[in-house]
Symmetry: C5
Subunit: 353 residues, 5 copies
């Protein structure tokens, strides 16, 4: 690839039945003119200086519609598919986990064109999925032998495959957050921020996957002549994978929003416990203090004060009152329940897993 | 079944009108060539070593599409149905209760192919429903006499029949949780975890049954030539059963999420009760303590202290104040209401059932 | 009806233009063979012993499809309609209030078949609506003169008519619950149970009526040849009635779930009130107690103690502080507001009705 | 109108091009027989004694379908439209504010029939919109010159015009309630009742307008031969007005239900404030009381008691402790914040409007 | 533009291929009669006195339908599109930020007509987007060379472009509000009002963009002959931009309503913290006060009082009890956690950005 640092070209020569990686951009018109070839041009616009050359390639060599090329070079587009007379233009999104946050993920845009005998892919970020397909091609020309649509299927299949680990991570993160909500050791606001972050991410995943689902639905239902009927089941397969992801993300959305419910419930319980502690404390200590206050009054005529065992009787009465109240509150379930519960939870959890 | 530990083959010979269980895999091409036979091959891939042989059987003997066979051998698929020129490929899910948890259930995938004169079923877990159909066939060839579609209906009918007890269990579990929420004796967080678990399960049931409903809707509406019109009412029947389950699970979803509402309300009431207790306590004891404190002051000139009955009058005043306050709070409905309520609940509940 | 305790047969003889109630099951084939007759067979399967005879009647005399008859004899089916070549099979649900609970209602299944010149109805529970139609027929043959579809319309109209009082009861019950939530005298958990019960009932009503609506929609849109175009407006009329009920039940669902919101708000207000009472109490009594405590200290050198009016000045200061604080809290709106509110509510309510 | 107190008849004579108000019911057959006339019969069934005469007019003179006439005479119907071979039957609802309650409104049913050269309207309550159209006709025959459909459009346009002020009132009422929720001076339960009432009203408005929208959608899409293509844009105009109302009522529904959220939040904040006050009070007064209590103990050997300035030092220490705690709580933002907030709110509000 | 202060007229002469800005209203009939010209009449009805002249221009010169002109002159319309035989009438909404409030935005109505060789735009407010297009035209006639539909596309593209910064502002405002909710320094009700305002704005944005989306969907799908197929992709492009905005506003709606959830949770946590502080305070000080009270009693026989170190032992015991309780509550996580949390939050936040 001497003259084009931004593009890698794979050509499957129908005649020789092997993959050629050495073609240059200048060779493309020749290569594309043979309908039996399968040409894959993978463009990575890492360097903004390459943009004019890329634009020239897409507009002039391939003669794509001006608007499609504009959309392609732009970022922040939604997944979509548009049919032009000779080719399809599509946008799909790849995902990768955000290393700095367990509750977030990063989307990467992959634009592409599918013609009868070519696939053009355009992206700015690195795609592991595209790297994988290239390595496959270097090993065997199989993915090209069934034509350009099958090659595209291979790429999309790889892109969608990277959704699953992400979704699994969310599953784990939801469970982890649920445990943290129940434990609620400290930093409750921190938990809230994480729930909110996860909520955003899951909503984003749902939105992206549902738009993408539409793209794949249309690709797999024989709407476009560029995708022959024999290849449709393969696209249907990718569609089914994505459907599962979309379903799961819908499900996670429900679960994440019920994390708020649980948080409210746990805080409510906790406040209730604190209140009970306070009420029990007051119920025991205020009467005792009153008794002490009464015998601290300075009336001249208070016979109890002069009785020999008055003090001891009073202390005994205080002790008795304390014990009775503790027993009463224990019966009402206001005290000495926490430890049991904690143990109970342990046991129940232990049994479950 | 000497040469194939993984497959059981039932053949209904149209001529002799009886069921033959002794066929081997090698006999299948012959048996399938007679369109009047009905062949059921039930494959249970218990042993991973059998996978290559199974793959060979499906790909070569039956000549199923490569992707369908791949999907079939994989697990974690959604219920779906796909039409191929000569056969249908479907995935349905069976359910069984999770013995270790009342709020959970386990799904088992059942893949299958329906041809003009054969049914192939593939599963990894044991299915009671399939066992039941086999026992039926051993008793009478009836289920095969109407052809392969009717046989499939029998299997699906049995699979769906095992949903109902599960749904009934959920019903019971929701009532049980509701009672626990109202009682809220101890372990409130434990209840929350159970509600959350049930919420997950019900959402899962809803999701599975609605996807499955789609499969059965398509099977029962004459879309596929493999299912003759005379058999359609039978599939419609299975569809109706599943519809009821789907409806109920939608309903349960509402009920489970209102369990959270009730939980909030019950905890709110409880906190309110505790607060009232605390307020009443303070309202009675703080004034008394103040009185005691006043007569505990050391002013030289406090005539009451020297009156003969000062002490007794003070004690009497305290008692009077206590009684007045208790009466006031009783009138405002802050105290002595709990017991009545409890009784009321008993009575009302008693009347209801 | 000497030989069939389970069935009542009404025959409208087109020739003589009168209703005959004396026919026996054995006469049915003859009666049905004249397309100008209108035959209504009402089967009530009160006695399980009659089931074989009923099955025989439906399967052999009427030659209904095996599955339809099975569905018919079963209970716990959803409302539905199924077209067979010569007849329609439908399930609708009647309702009646549950005498033991104002928040519940009971559904009764009514199965039926409509042919060109006959109506067959099958039920286990007693239907007031069917009784009404029978009495009508005994008075005048009018309901039969327009054919079997019109007769069916009469029956369904009566069945749907019994929904309205139920819906009205729900309306009243929601208002009643709302009042109870606002009053919240005692037994708050009891209210919660009633709200929950009503929620279940309303969801059930919504579910049943929407399924039934579908049945009537299909009946009233000329889809079935058994229902001639001239009769369609009558079915549309029943459909409209049901639509209104379905709409109302949707509405009630919203209202019932806002009862929870109100409950939370009322309990929140109440807790707030209790907290304020507690805070005011503490704010007044704690400072007084502190003052009493200070003059209860035993320092040798406390000049105030020896002043002549120290005690009286202290008491006066205490009274002044109390009054100031009360005034402050009254200004802040924390106390002495309840009575006004109560009065305000009375007045406002009074004005409204 | 000598012989019919219940009906007003307007006849536009195509020949003389003027409006005649003097026709009697007996003249109707003649008038209707000329397809170039436009006849409007407005029936107001104020007096129940007129019902038989009205029924006779509709059934015999106009020969409307029995069921349509029944629906017409009945009240409590939903907006709908039904096509009969020669005429349309429709029900729409007019609204007027309920004078006794700002959160409520009253609906009035207007039934009507549209034929090729006539409009029949039927209502029980007075309609300002109908009065307006009559006054228009008395001024100029314009509204009749384009035929019966255009006349109907005029009536419906007026009916829908009266929705807008109502919707504006709701807007104001929501803002008013929002202010009351934030102020929450007193009578919080009163606010809740008003929110609940408004919720009911908005849901009702949404329901009515969406059903009515359907009626107007069908009227404005060329479905009925009674409404010629040239008149369709006029009906589309009415439809657009109603659409705006329906949209707004959907919006209000959201806003009203968020009033509950705000209420919860405001009460939560308030409770939090009360709790803080209580906590600060306790945190300051309890330690002081403890100190006083300690120096009130009667131990023989308490050197501080005999020091000359012990009392004054203690009082100074108490003052110092009080000041430190106040400073601490002020730093934590628990006290002396309310006034600022109040001012802040004033300012911000002032800026906004 | 001597004779029409309200209208600016741009004429692209197909022959001379340049833009002429000097035409007058009187020239319009001539200019429009040449189908190769492209005429843009931009009307700004700043001055109410111009309304009759504008009406005359639209009704007589262009001969638009009476109702369309009426709608055009009116404000407060929803976005919509209506097809007339020779032209399209559309309403779209432009937006601009409200300078006085970060949570609000202002909508401006832009009405327009599209004919084969003309575009008429009508607005009352100033539109930056229209100003931009005019400046473009003054620079180059390019936007007119492809015909009137392409010119309209240019205008709509500019209008929709001004949505994006607004949406970005909302994004920022939501994040800002989230931070304020978590910080909740003071003025919590102020935050609530801002959340409520934002909620209204986002709902409004959602409503406007979804209606507008419909307009653009219809424009970009070849439904109208005024928009030739070659121009459709350009309209599809505008549609896609709007779709992204509509998607984002849906998303923001979710986020804004979860701000309430977070607010509840944060206030709940805060109340919980205050309660804990209060409970800890009471738990420590009430027992100490009781001890002091006991030794303040005046019994004759209290040996401890006379022991030499009684006072010191008591003080030491009090200190010991205090330390034990502090340790106990620290272990239970009720105290000394706040600082850590705050630090934790700082760190975590720091890491994230």
């Amino acid at each position: 690839m001497p003259n084009c640092g931004f593009a890698e070209i794979f050509v499957y020569h129908a005649g020789s039945m092997h993959i050629d990686e050495g073609a240059e951009i200048a060779d493309l018109p020749d290569l594309l003119s043979d309908p039996k070839n399968v040409v894959w041009v993978d463009i990575r616009a890492e360097n903004p200086d390459d943009v004019p050359a890329i634009k020239d390639l897409l507009l002039n060599t391939f003669q794509f519609h001006y608007l499609a090329v504009e959309d392609c070079l732009e970022t922040r587009n939604q997944p979509k598919i548009e049919a032009f007379p000779d080719y399809l233009y599509f946008i799909v999104h790849g995902v990768k986990p955000d290393e700095t946050s367990a509750t977030n993920f990063i989307t990467k845009e992959l634009d592409g064109f599918l013609g009868v005998n070519y696939v053009v892919t355009f992206h700015i970020e690195r795609f592991r999925s595209i790297k994988n397909v290239k390595q496959q091609l270097r090993t065997s020309p199989f993915a090209c032998q069934r034509g350009s649509a099958y090659l595209l299927h291979q790429i999309l299949d790889q892109v969608v495959d990277y959704y699953m680990p992400l979704v699994d991570d969310f599953d784990g993160e939801i469970n982890h957050l649920e445990e943290r909500v129940f434990a609620m050791k400290k930093g409750s606001n921190l938990i809230l921020e994480d729930i909110m972050d996860l909520r955003r991410s899951v909503a984003r995943l749902k939105r992206i996957s549902s738009r993408q689902l539409e793209v794949l639905y249309r690709m797999s239902h024989g709407e476009f002549p560029q995708i022959p009927a024999s290849i449709l089941p393969f696209f249907r397969d990718v569609h089914d994978h994505l459907l599962r992801i979309s379903d799961l993300s819908e499900n996670y959305r429900d679960l994440v929003s019920s994390l708020f419910d649980i948080h409210f419930a746990v805080v409510g319980n906790r406040t209730n416990d604190v209140m009970k502690t306070l009420a029990v404390l007051s119920a025991i200590l205020l009467p005792l203090t009153l008794i002490a206050g009464i015998y601290g009054m300075n009336f001249d005529n208070m016979p109890e004060l002069h009785s020999r065992n008055g003090y001891w009787v009073t202390l005994a009465a205080m002790a008795l009152l304390t014990i009775s109240l503790l027993f009463y509150f224990w019966r009402r379930g206001w005290i000495f329940q926490r430890a049991e519960i904690a143990v109970g939870t342990e046991t129940e959890k232990g049994e479950k897993e």
